[in-house]
Every structure is written in C-alpha cells, then in structure tokens.
C-alpha cells in the first residue's frame, strides 16, 4: 500500500518534470525559424570559407605550409599582390578625396539639387564591372573620343587604358559614388555654428578645416577608406573585362587557379585567398587603431 503511494508520487513527479521539459522546449520553438536561414547561410557562405581556410594548409593530400611557401617564393604572385595593393590604395585615397569634396560642397546647395545628385550617385554606384569597362573602352580606349580630344589639345601624348594608369582611372571612377554615399551622412556632424565661431575668432577657411573639420570627420573618413579599399582589392569583373585577365592582380590570379584553362591549383588559390583576407584584416586593424586614437572616435 505504502509502496504504491510512493510509486504514484514518483510518477507524478516525473510527469511534472516532463511537462517542464516540454514547456522549456516550447520556449525554444521560435529558434526553428532560424534553421532554414542558417542552413543556406552555412551552405553558401560559411562552408566555402571553411574549405578555403583548411585546404590552404593541404598540399598534395598532406598537411603542409607548402602553398604559403609557394606564394612567398613566386615573384609572379607577389607582383599580383603589389599591383592590387597599389591600385586599391591610390584609388581609395583619390576616390575618397574627390567624394569628400563633392559631399562638402553638396551640403551648401539647395535641397532639390542635393536630392537629384544623391539619386544620381546612387545610380552610378551600380555602374561598375563589365558595363563600366566597356564604357571606358569607348571613351578612353585607343580610339576613344576623350583620348582623341585630350591628344588634340596636347594634354597627353598617349594613354594606355589597359595599363596601371588606365586601371587606376577606372577604379577611381567606381570609388567616387560609393565614397560619396558613405560620407554623406557623416558630414551632418559638421555644425554651421562651429564654422561661424571659428570665422569670428579670425580663423581662415583652411585653418577651420585643419583644426576643426578634419578632426571631426576623421573617423568617418578612415572608416570609408577601409570600405573602399576592401571594395577595390576584391574587385574582379572590371579588370577581367578590361584586360581579359592579362593584368596581374590578386583576384585574377585566384580565379585563374580555379577556373582557368590549364594548371588548376585550388589549394594554392585558397592560400592566396587566406593571405588576401589577412591583409584586409591587418589594414582594418590599423584603421580601427587610428580611429580609436582620434578624439572624436571615442
């Protein structure tokens, strides 16, 4: 009799436990909605990254650093890094300066023109890749209208669009709209009062920019620079379309190692990719350090 009661009590306790577990599980039911998203995100974003990282350390089926050795002993691959960094750095810097000039002047115009220009930059930021390369061939190619015009005026002797200067021009072109869109909100931080106060105290426009404007904007400028840099170093379509893959850039090297006609070396491509990502991480880290050092970044 007594034992029966104990068993019953045990049973009841277990039931309570069960319902508790179930209600706890029911609390997690919304997580189920993450599963399809997580599945696709893993399949098409995370898994390829993991593959690239792991296989960059695999050489002929064995764990090794041979792929990395190959990168640092190949002047051809090192040249591609040099070219990519050179073009990315200068196109980001010049693009950023032009975009900053555009945005700072744009703020002084009336709102109708402002809106129209913003809409236009928004649109032209999509004018990149293959179509942009074709447009550049038409205007700046060997027989392009602008090339001929500049030659006639005697400004240039010759312009080779398919060289580093041609590529730099193309890169600057697609950096300007992106830089302008990213910088536009940041210029809100510049208050008119500060400019007027500085002017009242006798500061010139130049002095205002050096002492007040630039320090306030520097976190935004640095942040935009890094996005432009990443955008440029990862660009592939425009170089590929312009030079048919003949100009030596990192993305061109990586793509030709996995989808070229001969000598497929996916593991070497993976190692180059890892070095590229490390380079980006390194530059972002320097950038973050600079931002944290600046007064207005805090």
């Amino acid at each position: 009799m007594n034992t029966d009661r104990i068993v019953q009590q045990d049973q009841r306790k277990q039931d309570i436990k069960k319902t508790r577990v179930f209600s706890k599980l029911a609390n997690y039911k919304p997580i189920l909605w993450f599963i399809p998203f997580a599945f696709f995100f893993y399949l098409f974003q995370i898994a390829p990254m993991i593959w690239v990282f792991i296989n960059s350390f695999v050489y002929e089926g064995k764990w090794s650093l041979e792929n990395y050795h190959e990168i640092f002993n190949s002047s051809f691959i090192l040249q591609s890094f040099h070219n990519s960094v050179w073009i990315s750095f200068w196109s980001s810097l010049i693009g950023l300066l032009i975009a900053a000039l555009l945005v700072s002047s744009l703020r002084h115009l009336n709102s109708r023109i402002k809106e129209a220009i913003i809409a236009f930059t928004n649109m032209s930021s999509n004018f990149a890749g293959v179509p942009l390369a074709f447009a550049f061939i038409i205007i700046l190619g060997t027989n392009g209208a602008v090339t001929l015009l500049l030659k006639q005026w005697g400004i240039i002797e010759d312009f080779n669009l398919y060289s580093r200067w041609g590529l730099l021009t193309l890169y600057i072109y697609f950096q300007i709209p992106l830089g302008a869109l990213l910088l536009y909100p940041a210029f809100d931080a510049l208050k008119k009062d500060a400019y007027e106060a500085a002017a009242l105290l006798g500061a010139s426009s130049f002095r205002y920019w050096i002492k007040i404007g630039f320090p306030i904007l520097s976190p935004a400028l640095l942040g935009t620079f890094i996005i432009l840099f990443a955008n440029a170093i990862g660009a592939y379509a425009s170089v590929y379309a312009l030079t048919s893959g003949n100009y030596n850039m990192v993305t061109i090297r990586v793509a030709s190692l996995v989808s070229g006609d001969l000598f497929l070396e996916p593991n070497l491509a993976a190692a180059i990719s890892v070095v590229l990502m490390l380079l980006l991480a390194f530059i972002t880290a320097i950038n973050q350090w600079l931002i944290s050092r600046s007064y207005y970044g805090k």
């Binding site: 399809p36 995100f41 032209s124 027989n143 001929l148 015009l149 590929y240 996995v258």
Partner: protein, 262 residues
C-alpha cells in the same frame, strides 16, 4: 561673398557630376551613332543597334535567365530572412548584434574567395550544382542578405513590434496570424525598397556567374562579356538597355524609401 561661395560649391558639384556622367553619356551616344571611328564626334545617328539587340534571341534568352535567377534568389532571400528577423526582434532582440556581424561576411569576403570554396565543395556533389542556375540562386541570396537585413531591421525598429503583437494576442490572434496580417503590411515599403535595390546589384553580378557557371547558363552579364568582340555600338546598346533597368529599379527603391520617411 555668400554668392561667390555658392558659385564655387556649384562649380565643384557640377564638375564632379559631369565627370561621373561622361562614360554613361558617351556610351549612350555611341549606342545611337551609325559609326564613330577615329574622330571626336560620331558620323550619324541610327536606332539599328537597339533593333538588332532587341531581336537577338540570344540576348532575350540571357535576359530571361538573369530575370529568373534574380527573382528566384530574392524570393528565397525573402522567405529565409523575413521570419528570421521577426524571431530576432520579437524573441531574441540581443541577437541583432550578432546578426549585424554575420551579415558583414558577404561584404568582407570577396566573391572570388567564396567561389574558390564553392567550386571545390559543389563541383562533384551528387546533386549537380556547379554550372547550373541553382548555385547562383544560393550565392545571390548571400549577396542580397546584408541589404535586406539592414532595410527590414530598420522597418522593425520603426514599428512597435511588441505592442502590436500583444494587442493581436489579446484579440485572439495567433502569433503567425499577427505576423501575416499586422506586421507584414507595415514592412511592405522597406521590404520592397530593399528588393529593388538588391535586384539592381544582382542584375550586375558577374564574378559568381563567370566562375561558377560561365557559358553553361548564359546570364546577361556573361552575354555582355561574350559580345565584347562584336561591334562596340552593339555592346553600347546592350549596356544602355541594362542601365535602363538599373535606373528603373534604383528609382523605384529610392521612391519607396522616401515615401517611408514622410
């Protein structure tokens, strides 16, 4: 003094805008000119490049394929992202920070790097993926993700999500019903704007299309690239047609977002 300054600012803005406009304008003139050799101005004007483009079945096929891939991937992205963001904002608001980091990945990892892994992972899978539109739909979902997440998350913060759902619960609606009938109509503008914006990116996508699929399923950008050896006037007409679509979808996107702010 004020006037002369205004003049300088106008000068700066207009000259930079003109610089940005030159390639687009030149392509447009080139697409309309009968021939434009080694001279500064074209010889004459014609519509023949557009008519030959619009009657080229290969162009129409490529365009159809691009439309199919873009719409399918945006549909997939909507189906995956919308419930996910709802769960984040309604049940686990703290996860928003994690998600904001996760959605940076498609930005931070260049498509060329991703395609190295994709190509090796899915080249020999039992279900044929590489060389088919399916792999593009999957990768395009990751491209659209950051834009869609940011736009929809902004719409979510703009509405009183908790109050709206609680009110619906009080009136006897289930959470699903409340989401479909109350939350979704509130998100419509933000969602549509992000869809049009993503559409204009996806229509211009070349890297994944070229490396993962190539000529096996010729999209608009691949077709454009393959046509580079033909007449420059023809490719210009092609570029301008493509640009018209970009113009339309970014215009729709900006109209929708502007309407949202008012």
């Amino acid at each position: 003094m004020e006037n002369s300054k205004q003049f300088v600012h106008k000068g700066v803005v207009y000259s930079i805008t003109t610089l940005l406009l030159i390639p687009i304008l030149a392509t447009f003139i080139y697409s309309l000119s009968s021939s434009w050799g080694a001279t500064i101005l074209p010889d004459g004007f014609t519509f023949k490049w557009y008519s030959s483009l619009l009657t080229d079945p290969r162009f129409l096929d490529a365009f159809g394929r691009s439309l199919f891939i873009c719409i399918a991937s945006l549909l997939l992205a909507t189906l995956l992202v919308l419930p996910m963001i709802f769960v984040v904002f309604y049940y686990y608001p703290k996860l928003d920070k994690v998600m904001n980091l996760l959605i940076l990945l498609p930005f931070a990892v260049p498509p060329v790097v991703s395609s190295v892994g994709l190509l090796q992972l899915y080249a020999n899978s039992s279900f044929q993926l590489v060389g088919t539109p399916w792999i593009l739909i999957g990768t395009y979902f990751t491209i659209a993700l950051p834009f869609m997440y940011r736009a929809i998350a902004n719409s979510f913060t703009a509405i009183n999500l908790k109050d709206l759902i609680d009110a619906a619960h009080l009136l006897g609606a289930t959470t699903t019903k409340a989401f479909l009938l109350i939350i979704l109509p509130n998100l419509k503008k933000g969602l549509l704007a992000s869809l049009f914006l993503s559409f204009s990116f996806l229509l211009g996508e070349f890297v994944f299309a070229n490396i993962l699929v190539g000529t096996r399923y010729e999209t608009l950008q691949i077709y454009l690239y393959n046509m580079r050896q033909t007449s420059g006037h023809f490719t210009s007409a092609l570029v301008m047609t493509y640009f018209a679509f970009i113009f339309l979808s970014t215009w729709l996107a900006s109209r929708l977002t502007r309407g949202n702010n008012q």
